[in-house]
């Protein structure tokens, strides 16, 4: 469990501590955005560069397909569970965030693998990028199916103005897939792939060498922000907090199982687990504000950011790594 002692994780604790003791430490919003662009661009270029060395084979394609499908399907299960306690749109929104992924969790897992000397494949970055959007579509679909009749009933009342109109599918799919984070990630990967070794040599002094240091700065800010969301969590209640851990772990275990089925290496298995088990607080919320405007962002953002994210980077990553080693996945 030495991930607990990496500088990046410790800076996350430092940020959370600063917020909890009511310090005025803060990272300006535009600075945080710049760091986040940097991280997405870096991981994209690196994935593309690794792909340019290896290439994509049948197994890679299988992983990509399975990842996308899982991202689309997982929200259905989560939604059913959430509907026992929450309204339609909130349930659909939370299900969507948990079907999608957290790029920062992925990046922290990559840093963990690098530090532990465990190899992983460039196409896992592609898997991450492809898992961002499908869950948004299924979230909206779920909300739509469930509210179809309710909307009809309330057509005359004032709330009708706020009810879901017919989904404009084209617009929805484009919003889901053309999200800034997705574009930057896929675009950087394509550029890293296209420019190969020569391109990598020219950009790696920015995107590779200082990467871990930048991750420290960014996780410091994540700590500041995540702890600020704890107030919202109190209102969310025990059920949701439990959901944010239990369902994340269940999805992570599905990822481990799928890695085993697909015969992935240990590094790729860890990354798949963390993709399945992480929840989005960047790409998905931005899309959901448009697609599910009645869902309350003060519920789905704090859950992904204040519960699942810290759980994953502190406990989830070493736990899955341990499990994968125990099961002997990729050890053949």
């Amino acid at each position: 469990m030495d991930s607990l002692l990496s500088p990046a994780i410790l800076f996350f604790f430092l940020g959370a501590f600063a917020t909890l003791v009511r310090s005025d430490l803060e990272m300006p919003r535009p600075a945080a955005r710049l760091l986040s662009l940097y991280l997405l661009m870096s991981i994209g270029l690196y994935g593309g560069y690794k792909l340019s060395l290896g290439g994509i084979d049948g197994q890679a394609l299988a992983v990509l397909g399975a990842a996308m499908l899982a991202s689309f399907l997982m929200p259905f299960g989560a939604f059913a569970l959430l509907r026992t306690r929450l309204g339609t749109e909130d349930a659909a929104a939370i299900a969507a965030t948990f079907g999608s992924i957290s790029a920062v969790t992925f990046i922290t897992a990559v840093a963990y693998l690098n530090q532990s000397g465990i190899a992983y494949s460039g196409y896992m970055v592609a898997a991450m990028a492809l898992m961002e959007s499908p869950a948004i579509v299924s979230g909206v679909l779920l909300a739509r199916l469930a509210t179809n009749r309710a909307a009809a009933r309330s057509r005359e009342t004032k709330n009708a103005a706020a009810s879901l109109p017919g989904i404009e599918w084209k617009q929805l799919v484009s919003e889901a897939t053309l999200n800034g984070a997705v574009i930057l990630l896929i675009g950087s990967m394509v550029i890293g792939y296209a420019t190969g070794q020569q391109g990598w040599d020219s950009v790696s002094p920015l995107v590779y060498d200082p990467f871990k240091g930048v991750l420290c700065l960014f996780l410091l800010d994540m700590g500041l922000i995540a702890a600020r969301r704890l107030g919202d969590l109190k209102r969310a209640g025990v059920f949701l907090i439990g959901f944010g851990i239990v369902v994340a772990v269940l999805q992570g275990l599905i990822g481990v199982g799928m890695a085993w089925l697909l015969g992935l290496g240990a590094g790729d298995a860890l990354l798949l687990a963390i993709l399945f088990g992480s929840a989005s607080y960047i790409a998905v919320p931005a899309a959901l504000r448009l697609a599910l405007p009645q869902a309350n962002p003060s519920i789905y953002v704090p859950l992904a950011l204040g519960v699942t994210f810290p759980f994953n980077i502190i406990l989830g990553i070493p736990m899955y790594a341990w499990l994968i080693a125990q099961l002997g996945i990729g050890a053949g």
């Binding site: 990272m27 919003r29 945080a32 955005r33 986040s36 004032k158 103005a161 706020a162 800010d221 922000i225 600020r228 969301r229 107030g231 919202d232 209102r235 607080y281 960047i282 790409a283 919320p285 931005a286 959901l288 504000r289 448009l290 405007p293 309350n296 962002p297 003060s298 953002v301 950011l305």
Partner: protein, 98 residues
């Protein structure tokens, strides 16, 4: 210097373009947009702008002639009902190169 209606609209950044399109359709002569650093309303706190636009609010300042106001507010109301936010309207005098 003449009388106009001063209109300011607070709206989530993801919905900003909806309001701006609406204002253009209503033929407002111009607008100015500010970004909020924090907000609080029925749906909780909005101060997580470090990560995504989902929790960022913007404020749009614009003007219109008194007789155009009813049309404009009629068009604006369903948008605010659907997406949240608010609109404040007051009387003002305008100086401008027209």
């Amino acid at each position: 210097m003449r009388n106009v209606k001063r209109i300011e609209i607070v709206i989530g950044k993801p919905h900003e373009h909806v309001v701006l399109d609406l204002l253009r359709n209503q033929g407002v002569p111009g607008f100015t947009v500010f970004e909020a650093v924090a907000g609080f309303g029925d749906r909780g706190a909005r101060d997580g702008g470090e990560l995504s636009d989902a929790l960022v609010n913007r404020c749009i300042l614009t003007t219109c002639e008194a007789d155009r106001l009813p049309d404009l507010t009629a068009a604006l109301e369903p948008v605010l009902l659907r997406f949240g936010g608010l609109c404040l309207i007051s009387d003002a005098q305008l100086i401008r190169n027209e």
